[in-house]
Structure formats: structure tokens, C-alpha cells
């Protein structure tokens, strides 16, 4: 990896990456990705399976070396200064592994020990975390006996055990029922209000759209776009469209940018083209539509 980093770390960015690339043999898992994620924000990464989201997260979480490019997480290099990053970052992988025969309390105590937290602090720490993730009544339950949603919340509590500045969450809502997803979203917003920066990937895009300050769209290892959700949708031309049903029964869809364009389109169809319009419906598109287009290869 090229470790030369231009300039001083920027205080306003929790994650900064330039030209981040990872090759597995001939496969380009990540291809020249640049990221600027503001401190205190919730940043969502969307993309189909195999797009490179988890690879990017593994590099940022100090687990994987990139083939080229550099990154700075919480002001430190995840390759050259992994311990400094680990002190400040909590990582939640897409699958929560559990140990057999350990209670929820013991699980968190074990992870507190792995971050060198004094034993005298464990009791109050575990109490606080379990209250935060609403698992305080499950403290003596064997971890393996928890529901999937509870395991995800426990995994989040584990990532928070050392009070990190940054949370990197890989598909935390995967496999959760709607109620659990809403609870998770509320929890993440609460963590943001506590000053945490959060980077999250998810397939539950409606929630991502509601909670993220910015998103990055990744496909085939490349970052297609990055910014606030509304701007991305407009940028990729999937923000809004008009569905028109004509007199001959055909239905056509026309992308539009705003209300003016909508009126112009209607005038063009009726006056200029002299077509019989039976129905004229505005369709607001969201990240779900964007995701569908990406996975269909429409967005290039």
C-alpha cells in the first residue's frame, strides 16, 4: 500500500480515503475509491452483493491491507497505526458470531477485557450498554439463545464497549423484522446525537435514506456517487419521473427534474405531439429504485 499521505489529517473528517484499491488476483474488489466522511455524520454505503462494500469496511477496520491507495480513519492510518484506529473505532461485521455457553453479561465483559478496560469499570459499563441497547433484562441469558434482532443489538453494544468515536456497521439490519429495524434505526440516531460518527451499509434502503446524512453508491468496486441522498438520486437521474397512460393503452415513463419540466412535458405530449393522455402520474423514486437499477446494471 502507498502509505504517503498528502497533508495533515483533516479534523472535520472521520474517514478520508484516496484511490483505495484492493485486488484479489485478477478480481478488482475495490477500484480507486475516494471517500470523505464528515465527523458526526451517518454515512450509508449501498450497492449489490459483491460490490466491494465489505472489502472497503475491512480495510477501514484495520483488517485488510489495500493493494493501492491510502485511508485515514479517526486521523490514523489503518495500515501503519492499526492500534490507534482500533482504540477509536468500533466494527460490527455482517454476521454476529456467538460463543457457546456465555451469558450476555459475560460476553460484554470479555470484550471489555480485550480493550484493556479495568475490571472495576465492567459492572457500570455493562449496565450502561445493556440499557442503551435495551437488553438489560437479558443480561443472564445465554447469547446463543437470543433472537436475531437481540443479537444484532448485542453486537452493537460490543462495538461500543470502548466508547469509540466511529462505528463501522456492515449490514446491521440484515435479517431483522420491521420492528427490530425501526428499533435499530432509532438506536443509531441516538448514537449520532451522542456524537458518534457512523458508517453503515444496508440493503434496507428506505431506512438508510431516512437516517443517513450522506450515501455512497458502490458497484463493481467503484464508487459511482457520493453525497446527500437527494442529490445522489438527482445526479443519477432516478429522483423523479412521470408515468403517462395514453389513449391507445400504452404506458410510458419520463424522467423529470422539477415541476417546470413536468408542465413542459405535459404540454409537449398534448399540444406538440397531439397524443391523447388518459392519466398523468408523478412517481417519486427512492434508494430502493436506485438499488434496483444498480443491480440491473442500468446505472453505469
Amino acid at each position: 500500500m502507498e502509505l504517503l499521505e498528502p497533508g495533515e489529517p483533516r479534523d472535520d473528517l472521520i474517514i478520508e480515503a484516496r484511490g483505495l484499491t484492493k485486488h484479489y488476483g485478477r478480481l478488482k474488489a475495490l477500484d480507486n475509491v475516494d471517500l470523505d466522511i464528515p465527523r458526526g455524520s451517518i454515512f450509508g454505503i449501498i450497492g449489490p452483493n459483491g460490490a466491494g462494500k465489505s472489502t472497503a469496511f475491512l480495510i477501514l477496520a484495520t483488517l485488510l491491507t489495500p493493494t493501492a491507495g491510502w485511508a485515514r480513519v479517526c486521523g490514523f492510518s489503518p495500515v501503519a497505526e492499526p492500534e490507534a484506529v482500533r482504540r477509536r473505532m468500533g466494527y460490527m461485521p455482517d454476521v454476529m458470531g456467538v460463543y457457546e455457553n456465555l451469558t450476555v453479561k459475560e460476553y460484554l465483559e470479555f470484550h471489555a477485557a480485550t480493550y484493556h478496560i479495568e475490571r472495576s469499570e465492567w459492572a457500570s459499563l455493562v449496565d450502561g450498554l445493556l440499557e442503551l441497547v435495551d437488553l438489560d433484562v437479558k443480561r443472564d441469558t445465554i447469547v446463543d439463545e437470543l433472537s436475531r434482532g437481540m443479537k444484532q443489538r448485542l453486537s452493537l453494544a460490543r462495538a461500543l464497549v470502548h466508547d469509540p468515536e466511529l462505528l463501522i456497521l456492515d449490514e446491521p439490519a440484515s435479517g431483522l423484522d420491521p420492528r427490530a429495524r425501526i428499533e435499530l434505526r432509532e438506536l443509531l440516531l441516538q448514537l449520532q446525537s451522542m456524537g458518534k460518527s457512523i458508517v453503515i451499509s444496508s440493503h434496507i434502503l428506505a431506512e438508510l435514506q431516512q437516517m443517513c446524512d450522506a450515501i455512497g453508491v458502490i458497484e463493481a468496486g467503484q464508487l459511482l456517487a457520493s453525497g446527500p441522498p437527494g442529490r445522489i438520486l438527482a445526479q443519477l437521474g432516478v429522483g423523479r419521473s412521470v408515468r403517462v397512460r395514453f389513449g391507445d393503452g400504452t404506458i410510458e415513463e419520463f424522467p423529470i427534474a422539477g415541476d417546470d419540466e413536468q408542465q413542459a412535458l405535459l404540454r409537449k405530449l398534448i399540444v406538440d405531439d397531439d397524443r391523447a393522455v388518459l392519466e398523468f402520474t408523478t412517481v417519486d423514486k427512492n434508494l430502493e429504485d436506485l438499488f434496483l437499477q444498480i443491480t440491473q446494471g442500468i446505472v453505469q
Partner: protein, 336 residues
């Protein structure tokens, strides 16, 4: 500021890092029935072998082929030690070769690797957890060895050194098992390779030793390197360490099971001494420098148990180094 504690990164800190994994492993192990079942079988087999040996020896003592009664204790002692070693050879890789691959299978390794304990703490936490179980098995059978002591023919110091040798071998086996588990991705492959290495140590070294002995005897005046060659594999064998620790090298005349190994050592030394003398005359040197050779008249200055311990510790060091390196992150690939 976050809660993560600060450490200076000293060797002591690295040793302290072992504790969280060790604590958790021991806690989990104590809650499963498997540990209790293995220990029960281990104890029953040790008791069975002690009883059969005692019965057999005291019966033959009354007949014409009997041995001196005071040596019944030694026979029980050595047979129980051999049984314990054989059981350890089977049990320890079974519990240690899944140590890291099990974490991978359960998806718990990555959350561990992003903490502050590092690859050394993970590796040796696993090794010590397996070794602690070995310690428990050996301590549990200590009363049987105490009975052998009461029967006579074996010194208390030999019982202690025999137990220590078993512990050292148990530690080596745990290191080998965990190293295989760190290097390979699947528990089945790690277990297979661990058993393969152990087979090479127990049987392979004996075969190589025997072949080199024959070759060396044939070409006594040949290449001096052959001395080093035929002595070296001898020490990598766990049974050799046990034989060296459980009795004096001079204990070669009894009918005890480990006498054969000690006899082999003496034979090898005799050939070595004769050969060293021949070479010394030829090159005007008092001996052959390096390796495990003695100068003439310095037979067994370095005891057999120490030579074997050093050889096996060297092997443990190499295995641990490779295993720890394999767990280091960030790495070029991550097995999830």
C-alpha cells in the same frame, strides 16, 4: 476520550493480553460435558493400565520369569506414563486444532482481531487454555503415579520429572494444534495436519533414526555429518523426552517399556563417541564442533531430557511464530 485502556506495549503487556481469551476459554470449557467425559475416560484408562501392569508383574514375580518386586513400581510408572502420553497425542490436537478455525466458523475471530489484544494474545490464550486442560488431566492421574512410587523402584524426583515432561509435551502439542488451526481455514484440515506432524514426530523420527543408525554403522568412517544426522531426529520424539525424564540413562537393563529408548541413546552415543575419536585423530581436533556431539569421554554431559526438551521447544517456537504471524492484521486477505 474513549474507555480503551493504555498499555506501554511491553512483553509483560503481551502476556497480560493472553488473559481475556484464556479466561473465556476456561469458563466455556468448564460448562461443557465433553471435558468431564474426556477426563473420566483418561482416568479410567490410566487406572486400568496401572492395574493390569501391577497384576501382570506381581503374577510373573511369583513365577520363574518374574522380576524383582521392588521394580514393579517402575513398571507401573512407565506404563502409565506411556499411556498418558499416547492419550495426550490423541486428545490435545483434538481440542487445540479447532481453536482458531472454530472462531472463524463461529464468525467470532474478526471481532477479536479488531480489539487491542493482538495476535500474540489470541494465539497464546488458546494455547494456554488447551495446556490448562492437559495440566488438569495430568494432575488428575498424579495419585496413580504416587501409588507407583509407593510400590518402589522409582525415585520421587523421577515421578516429578516424568509429570513435567508430560506437561511440556502437552504444551508442545497445544502449540502445534493451535498453529495448524491458525494457518489452515478448516478444522478438519487443521486436525489432520496436526495429527500428521505428531505421527512424523513419534514414528517418522524413529524410522529416520533407525535408518541413519544402520547407515552410520555401515560407513563408520564416512562423512562426519552423518553423526549429527542420526542423532538429531532422535530428540524430536516425545517418547524420547519421556524416557529421558522418567529414568536415568543408565536404566537400560530392566524390562521396562522405556528402556529401549534409553538403550538407543546409549548405542547412539557409543557410535558417536567412537566416531568422534576417529575424526579427532584424523583432523587433530578433540571432537566435532556443533550439533549434539560430545567429545570423547563426555558422554551425556547434556542430559537426554534436556536435549529433547530443547529440540521440542525449538519446534514449538517455530510453530508459534508462524501461527502468530498468520493471525496478524491488517493482512492481505481475511478469512471470514
Amino acid at each position: 476520550m474513549n474507555r480503551a485502556g493504555n498499555r506501554a506495549g511491553t512483553v509483560l503487556d503481551a502476556l497480560i493480553d493472553v488473559r481475556p481469551v484464556l479466561d473465556r476459554e476456561l469458563r466455556q470449557r468448564s460448562r461443557t460435558a465433553r471435558s468431564m467425559v474426556v477426563m473420566t475416560i483418561f482416568l479410567l484408562l490410566a487406572l486400568g493400565v496401572a492395574f493390569i501392569t501391577y497384576t501382570g508383574e506381581t503374577t510373573s514375580f511369583n513365577g520363574e520369569f518374574g522380576i524383582a518386586r521392588q521394580n514393579v513400581g517402575r513398571s507401573v510408572f512407565e506404563w502409565v506414563l506411556i499411556l498418558e502420553l499416547v492419550l495426550l497425542l490423541f486428545v490435545v490436537p483434538g481440542i487445540s486444532a479447532g481453536a482458531i478455525t472454530g472462531e472463524r466458523d463461529r464468525q467470532t475471530l474478526i471481532p477479536l482481531q479488531v480489539t487491542l489484544i493482538g495476535p500474540f494474545g489470541i494465539f497464546f490464550g488458546k494455547v494456554l487454555a488447551s495446556s490448562a486442560f492437559v495440566l488438569l488431566l495430568i494432575v488428575a492421574t498424579a495419585p496413580i503415579l504416587a501409588v507407583a512410587y509407593l510400590l518402589g523402584g522409582v525415585a520421587f524426583s523421577q515421578i516429578v520429572s516424568g509429570i513435567l515432561a508430560l506437561m511440556l509435551i502437552g504444551f508442545l502439542l497445544a502449540v502445534l494444534g493451535v498453529a495448524c488451526s491458525a494457518i489452515l481455514r478448516r478444522t478438519a484440515a487443521a486436525t489432520l495436519i496436526a495429527y500428521g506432524v505428531i505421527l512424523a514426530l513419534c514414528v517418522g523420527t524413529a524410522v529416520v533414526f533407525a535408518v541413519l543408525m544402520i547407515l552410520s554403522a555401515v560407513s563408520r568412517n564416512g562423512d562426519p555429518d552423518s553423526i549429527l544426522a542420526y542423532l538429531t531426529p532422535f530428540y524430536w520424539n516425545p517418547f524420547v523426552l519421556l524416557a529421558g525424564a522418567a529414568g536415568e540413562v543408565s536404566d537400560v537393563n530392566g524390562p521396562w517399556p522405556l528402556s529401549g529408548i534409553r538403550t538407543g541413546f546409549i548405542e547412539a552415543q557409543n557410535i558417536n563417541r567412537q566416531f568422534a575419536a576417529d575424526v579427532a585423530v584424523a583432523v587433530d581436533e578433540p571432537g566435532i564442533p556443533g550439533g549434539f556431539n560430545e567429545r570423547p569421554g563426555e558422554l551425556a554431559v547434556i542430559p537426554l531430557w534436556l536435549r529433547s526438551s530443547l529440540a521440542l521447544l525449538l519446534l514449538s517456537f517455530v510453530a508459534a511464530t508462524v501461527g502468530v504471524r498468520r493471525l496478524r492484521t491488517p493482512s492481505r486477505s481475511v478469512t471470514q
